[in-house]
């Protein structure tokens, strides 16, 4: 059999971002693969150290293009813990509304990439059309669609207008209705099942070895979500979705026939299902948040943006559950008006490290599907 080496360069239609892979092919089966990233290293953390504390917030915003809210929130939590800033109730629930909307928009972007890798263009357009509704919400509240830059230390930049609350409820119903449509067209489609069941299962040992967190880990049955422990989510009840290891059935009459061949736990279809279920969870959380939105000040008025606004010396490490996994931020401040050190520990790094072991033995045509299913964000891994 002919053995070929093939290097898929940084710019390739099926890659989720600029990463360079050298594949050792044995016919169509991939024997080994070597991943090299670093094309999107922008020196984010060094830039944070050069500018004022508020400019650092802006840089945190650009850590991950799709999930801008998560890195902003984790930096705000860390700095608020150092400086002992009290965040009013209303600001916290506004932040959580933004986080859950960001999670739904990131999962919709994941579904678009997944559908494109499998070749179903129709679903790509449906999913991106529904994601537009969420980006419109972001623009209405914060003024920008992607890099929101809306969180400030001690609260939020602006208040929630009441028109926003109704729009959030409308978007929740719209997404709920649309997901039933996605299930009919795509999720339990025979060809999609054939392409994804039993492909590249992520074993629990590999998860522990690589430190993978988030939906990729939950799809393989590792029930661990850092939202459960965090104080922000105390008042909300939601459960942690996991792959099809438990009851798995397809709705409607096709469900009776869809005794799908049970692909193993943690395969590509599981990772897809987990994110679908997380979207429903996020919608429930949004509904609870919007229902009990407390009144009051949206920002701790004692803090105002000033060019020499010092943070007392100290350090802190905060973590929260972003759409891709556990995002941690270690902030060190030595008392000046610019940060001493801001370091982000991002979830994509672990998936990238586990990629060579995951990809061994799959067919070359399944490579884009596996890459899309891991929801890699190279901007987040390279920083």
């Amino acid at each position: 059999m002919s053995r070929k080496d093939w290097s898929i360069g940084p710019l390739h239609t099926s890659l989720p971002g600029p990463m360079h892979m050298v594949l050792k092919l044995h016919g169509e089966i991939i024997d080994a693969c070597q991943v090299e990233t670093g094309f999107l290293h922008r020196g984010l953390e060094k830039q944070c150290e050069l500018h004022s504390w508020h400019a650092a917030l802006f840089y945190a915003d650009h850590l991950d293009p799709e999930g801008a809210v998560f890195s902003e929130l984790v930096l705000c939590l860390a700095v608020e813990e150092i400086a002992g800033i009290m965040v009013p109730e209303r600001a916290q629930s506004i932040r959580l509304v933004l986080v859950e909307l960001g999670r739904i928009s990131s999962h919709l972007a994941f579904m678009a990439r997944m559908a494109r890798s499998v070749g179903s263009e129709t679903i790509v357009h449906y999913v991106l059309r529904d994601r537009e509704r969420i980006l419109d919400l972001f623009e209405l509240l914060t003024g920008a669609r992607v890099s929101l830059n809306f969180l400030r230390y001690g609260g939020v930049k602006g208040d929630v207008t009441d028109g926003f609350i109704e729009r959030v409820l409308d978007v929740c119903d719209l997404i709920r209705f649309r997901m039933k449509e996605y299930n009919d067209i795509f999720t339990f489609n025979a060809i999609f099942l054939k392409r994804t069941l039993g492909v590249a299962p992520l074993s629990v040992e590999l998860i522990e070895q690589a430190g993978i967190t988030g939906p990729n880990a939950r799809a393989s049955g590792v029930r661990e979500d850092s939202r459960k422990g965090s104080p922000l989510y105390q008042a909300l009840e939601f459960d942690i979705p996991s792959g099809k290891s438990e009851d798995f059935f397809a709705q409607g009459w096709r469900g009776l026939l869809a005794r799908t061949s049970k692909g193993c736990v943690g395969d590509v279809h599981d990772r897809f299902l987990v994110r679908l279920r997380e979207m429903t969870q996020s919608i429930e959380i949004l509904r609870q948040l919007v229902a009990q939105m407390p009144l009051g000040v949206y920002q701790n008025t004692s803090i105002h943006i000033d060019r020499n606004y010092p943070i007392p010396p100290g350090e802190s490490y905060q973590r929260m559950e972003s759409a891709r996994g556990r995002l941690g931020c270690h902030v060190v401040s030595d008392g000046q008006n610019f940060p001493g050190r801001i370091q982000f520990s991002t979830p994509t790094r672990a998936s990238l490290w586990a990629l060579p072991q995951l990809v061994r033995g799959i067919r070359i045509e399944d490579l884009p599907v596996v890459l899309a299913s891991l929801d890699l964000s190279i901007a987040e891994a390279d920083r």
Binding site: E36, T37, G38, H41, G43, E45, K46, Q47, L50, E81, I82, E208, Q209, A210, G211, E224, G314, E315, S316, Y317, R319, R326, G328, H330, V332, D334, G340, R341, Q343, S345, R349, A350, L352, W353, D382
Partner: protein
Amino acid sequence: MDTKLVTRLEKILRGKIIRITAFGKGEYPSLWLEGTQMLSVAEVLKEDPLLQIDRLENLSAVEMQEGIVLSHFVYSSVTQVRLVLRTAFLPVSETDLVQAPSLVRVWSMVQTFEDEIGELFGVAFDGQVPQFNLLPEQVRGLFPMRKSFVFQMPEAQFYE
């Protein structure tokens, strides 16, 4: 910082650590260690039946007065205990590497953190020279994240 955990740590790590302080606002303890003791302390923490620290959450490097401080944020998935191991290494000069022990044998997920810190801070873990894939050519070897590296915003060239 619950005292039971601190006494347990002092008992099993007799003499190997310099001091135990609260990390940040004091949720969990941070252990200041000698560079040479890192590996043995890590193994002890991992095998200890009561603690079973088997996961590493984050390894971050900060350049403070004591030099480059490596802080390993470790936790146990079994007993939900969280710890921070702190070690400091003084860089001799601006452009040569700092030697530090690598903990890949104890916590395998540390590998990616070590590669990146090796490249940005110039720390050679277990003597391996960092292979550069993050940095562009002209900055390799200058270790940009160190305080000594002064960064100038490149002038915006207006092309004719």
